[in-house]
Symmetry: C2
Subunit: 160 residues, 2 copies
């Protein structure tokens, strides 16, 4: 199957985190695609991920349950759209597993990894339907949250 068509991010609609991290690309991929690892880094502490299910193929489930410090649970279910091992992962909560339309979808995520002399260029993009959804995501703390989660990922990967 040919590589998926992806957009250039639109600064009015999308949010992007781009950083170079000093860990190997393959380990970043492993941290993103293994449920027990996701539980350790995906949510900025003191929030946690209490449950994660992954079926790593287009249409396969990507589900995480986020858990507040008070113990309230927030399940999020979506599916993968593209899986290129070590290179690119695309998922959305607009579609449930098997591509069934979801009731309350919000975003499509694109993770791109490239090897660099320093380690890995890590680019995570959130695509939204409109300006309001982007704004809401930004105000929910996209930049601080996704940066803190990436710090946790790097810390975890260095402990492997």
């Amino acid at each position: 199957m040919s590589r998926a068509y992806t957009l250039q991010p639109d600064p009015h609609l999308d949010l992007v985190l781009e950083r170079v991290v000093d860990v190997p690309r393959e380990l970043v991929w492993t941290a993103w695609t293994t449920p027990e690892h996701i539980c350790q880094w995906f949510c900025p502490r003191p929030w946690t991920v209490s449950d994660c299910v992954i079926d790593l193929r287009p249409g396969g489930v990507f589900s995480t349950t986020m858990c507040s410090p008070e113990g309230e649970q927030f399940p999020n279910v979506g599916c993968y759209l593209e899986v290129i091992p070590g290179e690119r992962l695309i998922w959305t909560d607009m579609l449930l597993p098997g591509f069934r339309p979801a009731d309350q979808g919000f975003m499509t995520g694109i993770l791109t990894l490239e090897s660099t002399p320093e380690g890995t260029k890590y680019t995570a993009t959130a695509l939204h339907r409109d300006v309001d959804a982007r704004k809401q995501h930004e105000e929910m703390g996209f930049h601080a949250g996704w940066n803190a989660a990436l710090d946790q990922l790097v810390e975890l990967v260095k402990s492997f």
Copy 2:
């Protein structure tokens, strides 16, 4: 990339058209994936398709503009999710090209083609988010409409 995960249709949520048609599988595929052919068969007459754009890869556009006998235009834009030439085509209007979340998505479509001694087993499935969406689609005339369009496809393919 591995083959996508697809569901067994759920009779409470989904609509299925299954027929054997006496034309070759490859030509059914061609009729489904060529804009000028789509314009000739995709909408039951006297409605027409006035415009069709196809970028045949995951994330690529699948757009059709349906046109009423009075000339009113109804654009529908979505993207492909899986493309296995001659075998299976999956698309949705829940996501725009490049997988951007859409504003008013409704369904995911799955076309499956199998060669049989008589020609082609043609299975077209519409996945919906809930019972109401399925009911609405059925009342819009899913069965009569998709059957009539398939008759037009067979007629067109026989004229090739």
